[in-house]
């Protein structure tokens, strides 16, 4: 009798010890999740609102590799069998192509419960993390009358002050298509776009980065550029002499997307990470700091903040959805034409 009691006690203790160790043995203990993402403010936000809770919950360590999405897009293909990254953040067009080529995984709503709360546009590419509007950035110090249309850029008074973005790229591609649309063409009749942009020469610069863009506006060399709304408001908040408009012909829609490479080594952890990324806490922080529009329907924004981004189903639907599949297929030819007609004198 006594012996059984002791046995039971020992058994109980063992069970507790075991259960404690099971509880303590978190899923990511001793593992490292490699995440490729943009630097600067995005890095700070991600560390605070995603990495921290993720590491606490899983015990895994997160290694951030910072850089532009182009480098990540190339890497996804180049190291398809043996990817370095477990999560790669891509631009909209890149994510669509990567998904189509199956170098990244489709969404997994079971392991990423926040997926159900996303707007359909964000669900369509896997895990859309932020909605972006590609509109018009203008210099409030030199341009007294706020522009209302893409056509305003062709005003002779602004000659030499309009800086296009490099093609292909989120801003550059949107600008080419909108230039075509403003001049009677569209993505299926792109001639008008090339001819119109060529008329804007000489350019103060052909932009490829955010810092150089802001510098150009600050020195007064640049008065207009196509730009993503968030960058403009971020610079404006820092005191930059700039503002953003949604032109009357339409404002193309873009998105930042989180992807998991097809052969990722830590898919389970990657899904947990992305779930944190899509959480209202992180999305709200992004909206507050970078004015990135939340893709999660449950995020509530104060009205003054909501006014600075495409927020809510109706406003998102008002943005222009370009035919990215068609554009991507033409991209190579257009880049060739861009080099010859736009960049050469």
């Amino acid at each position: 009798m006594r012996r059984t009691k002791i046995a039971v006690c020992i058994g109980l203790l063992a069970a507790i010890a075991l259960s404690v160790s099971v509880v303590g043995q978190r899923i990511g203990e001793g593992r490292t999740l490699v995440v490729g993402i943009w630097g600067a403010a995005q890095e700070e936000l991600t560390r605070e609102y995603v990495v921290k809770p993720f590491e606490q919950a899983t015990g895994a360590r997160v290694e951030l590799i910072l850089g532009g999405s182009t480098d990540r897009f190339v890497r996804l293909y180049a190291e398809y069998d043996n990817p370095t990254m477990d999560v790669a953040f891509l631009a909209y067009g890149q994510a669509q192509q990567a998904l189509k080529d199956r170098v990244v995984q489709g969404p997994n709503p079971i392991n990423v419960p926040e997926w159900k709360n996303l707007y359909p546009q964000a669900q369509a590419v896997g895990y859309g993390v932020a909605f972006l509007a590609v509109g018009l950035m203008y210099n409030t110090e030199y341009v007294k009358q706020a522009p209302t249309s893409w056509l305003d850029l062709w005003n002779p008074a602004y000659k030499g002050k309009v800086a296009p973005f490099v093609f292909p790229g989120t801003q550059g591609t949107a600008f080419l298509v909108m230039a075509a649309r403003a001049h009677g063409g569209d993505e299926y009749n792109i001639d008008a776009g090339f001819n119109a942009i060529a008329q804007l020469k000489p350019f103060p610069a052909v932009l490829s980065g955010i810092p150089e863009t802001n510098l150009g506006f600050l020195t007064g060399d640049i008065w207009f550029a196509p730009q993503i709304h968030g960058y403009v408001y971020e610079f404006k908040a820092e005191g930059g002499p700039v503002d953003f408009v949604y032109p009357s012909e339409g404002t193309p829609f873009a998105m930042n997307v989180a992807t998991i490479p097809t052969n990722a080594k830590n898919t389970d952890l990657a899904e947990i990470f992305i779930n944190y990324f899509l959480s209202p806490a992180n999305q709200l922080a992004y909206a507050n700091r970078l004015f990135y529009a939340p893709t999660n329907r449950t995020v509530q924004l104060p009205p003054e903040l909501a006014a600075m981004m495409p927020y809510g189903a109706q406003q998102i639907a008002e943005l222009l959805e370009l035919d990215w599949a068609h554009i991507t297929a033409q991209q190579s030819d257009w880049a060739d034409r861009w080099n010859r007609q736009i960049l050469e004198k």
Partner: protein, 590 residues
């Protein structure tokens, strides 16, 4: 030939194998907009490239930009190299420090400094406006790129030339002078021809580096000047058309080999003759023969330079005016001219340092938002930068150790022994510098991914070693060429063994070359960006890669703050080296 084996192994893994991958890729077809590659063979990439005048135009533009930068480096760098070779003690230490310090700052930061300096609202233009002169549009544009490339790469030429000038026996100049030569005559007939190996090596470095530079043309061209590297990057990185990019790379490599071959043949006549002479005769040649030899070499040099000059004259007109002025200045001003050149070498540093104390997140000069140390304080909370610094340091140190020892052996084999395929091997070792780095990186990434070596330390090291070896072999070869082998024979005759002879005779004689080679190896590795972007990963991200990745989005004064810290570290290191060893001893030989 066995001496070259270690270097050859490095070359095989780090360059030849990736090259084979590229070659195979170049006959494939890509899917537009995607990184997928179709499983069928095609010649379309080559026909597209070869039958389109546009690509030739881009090639020609890149070529002329690199050529201008090389000529400008030669015109500005040679006097400084002479000053380094001639000066002693403190002065020499100072000059070496001046040349080396900017090289230790990151290329992104240095180019940003130049961008501000030459920009429409930069100090130079502001000065011009205050003097009532019109603004110059140097940036964005080709002139800015040429100036930038010169500024960034000129130290390679200076060190190359000075390491060879150090080897010239001052008695030769004295002999020429006592035989009635003027000072300039002695320079033209003795010093210049004898420095040809240094000129060949140094100008090759500047040319190849300029030809395959990406950061400088991209930033200083304002995104509007298409050169081969920007075109290749667009094809390989943005459009993912690897087959076409590979075809461009293969053709470019072949063209570079022909160009470099012609160049070394034309200019390096003296070099090769010298090596033949040294190898063939164990006797010290008579003065008469030597002078004849030198004269012939100098004519060779003058004639080929002249030919190149006239051919390029019409493209060079604006540049020539500037060059003429500069040359006049150098000649007339003496130290004044040299002071100006030194100012040019150091010019980006003050801008980099001052802008690192900016209160705003934009890199500007003068900085906006008042004085602030926030970017330095911010670094404290970012241990990854410190980690990357040590990774870079480690890889650079290993590159020096392995690269210089294996490269020196290979250089010995290439200069001393004649064996079948020697010329081929010589070109092969230099060819990693001729292939655009973007594609070296991409091909290496694919190879390392196959081997499971992506983002590993050894993978990164091999990538760096391939580049480093090219510099080492070239530099050490140059110092071996002017080497009198009878000295070694004398040592052997006097009873010294092979190793003792190497330690007591060969090593001291090639020491300046070895030191310069080590400096190159360190700098090349420490600042390498384009290849490393591909092959680094978690745990192996080097400092330049970290800074480069900020360029597109997060570029802020962190970059200039880090560069400023690097300048301080570099100065401290030079100071310590000076106190412990005497900096001037770094390049003295006799």
């Amino acid at each position: 030939m066995t001496l070259a084996t270690p270097s050859f192994v490095i070359l095989g893994i780090g360059f030849l194998a990736p090259l084979v991958l590229l070659f195979l890729l170049s006959w494939r077809q890509s899917v537009p907009g995607s990184g997928l590659i179709l499983d069928q063979w095609t010649t379309a990439n080559y026909t597209r490239l070869l039958f389109d005048a546009y690509y030739f135009k881009i090639f020609w533009r890149t070529f002329t930009i690199a050529l201008y930068a090389t000529l400008l480096s030669l015109a500005l760098g040679y006097p400084i190299a002479m000053a380094i070779a001639r000066s002693k003690g403190r002065a020499k230490a100072f000059l070496l420090a001046v040349v080396l310090t900017p090289l230790l700052t990151n290329v992104v930061a240095r180019t940003l400094g130049l961008m501000i300096l030459l920009g429409r609202h930069g100090p130079i233009n502001n000065l011009l406006v205050q003097l009532g002169l019109p603004r110059l549009t140097l940036v964005p544009g080709v002139p800015g790129i040429v100036i930038g490339l010169t500024q960034v790469f000129m130290p390679f030429l200076i060190l190359s030339v000075s390491s060879v000038l150090e080897n010239i026996d001052p008695a030769l100049v004295e002999a020429a002078r006592s035989l009635g030569c003027t000072r300039f005559g002695a320079f033209r007939r003795v010093v210049l021809p004898l420095s040809v190996p240094g000129i060949v090596g140094g100008s090759l470095f500047v040319f190849l580096l300029s030809f395959s530079a990406f950061v400088t043309p991209q930033l200083l061209g304002g995104g509007m000047v298409v050169v081969m590297t920007t075109l290749i990057r667009q094809q390989a990185m943005v459009l993912l058309n690897w087959p076409f990019a590979s075809a461009v790379a293969i053709v470019l490599l072949l063209v570079s080999i022909v160009l470099v071959g012609t160049y070394t043949r034309a200019l390096g006549g003296a070099e090769r003759r010298e090596s033949t002479r040294v190898a063939a005769s164990s006797k010290i040649s008579s003065w008469g023969r030597a002078v004849q030899e030198l004269r012939r070499a100098s004519y060779d040099l003058a004639a080929s330079l002249g030919r190149a000059w006239t051919r390029l004259a019409r493209y060079l007109r604006p540049m020539r005016l500037a060059l003429g002025k500069l040359r006049f200045m150098v000649r007339a001003g003496g130290w004044g001219g040299k002071a100006l050149i030194i100012a040019f070498i150091l010019a980006p540093l003050p801008i980099v340092i001052v802008s690192s104390f900016s209160g705003s997140s934009l890199i500007m000069f003068p900085p906006r938002g008042g004085f602030s140390v926030r970017w330095y304080v911010g670094l404290l909370s970012r241990p990854e930068y410190i980690r990357s610094f040590f990774i870079s340091l480690q890889i650079a140190a290993l590159s020096v150790l392995i690269g210089v020892s294996t490269g020196t052996l290979a250089a010995l084999a290439l200069v001393r022994y004649r064996f079948p395929g020697r010329e081929v091997l010589r070109t092969l070792f230099l060819s990693p510098l001729m292939l655009p780095a973007v594609l070296v990186g991409l091909a290496l990434l694919r190879l390392l991914a196959m081997m499971g070596w992506t983002a590993t330390f050894r993978g990164v090291l091999i990538g760096h070693l391939v580049l480093v070896t090219a510099y080492v072999i070239r530099t050490v070869s140059a110092s071996l060429v002017g080497f009198d082998r009878s000295l070694e024979e004398a040592s052997r005759n006097l009873g010294a063994g092979v190793f003792r002879t190497f330690r007591r005779v060969t090593f001291p004689l090639i020491k300046p070359g070895l030191i310069v080679a080590s400096i190159f190896a360190f700098l090349v590795s420490f600042d390498e960006t384009t290849v490393s972007v591909f092959i680094t990963g978690p745990g192996t991200i080097t400092l330049p890669v970290r800074l480069f990745s900020q360029l597109e989005y997060g570029l802020d004064p962190t970059v200039t703050a880090i560069s400023s810290i690097l300048v301080v570290i570099a100065l401290l290191a030079l100071l310590v080296a000076d106190r412990l060893l005497g900096l001037e001893k770094f390049s003295t030989m006799r």
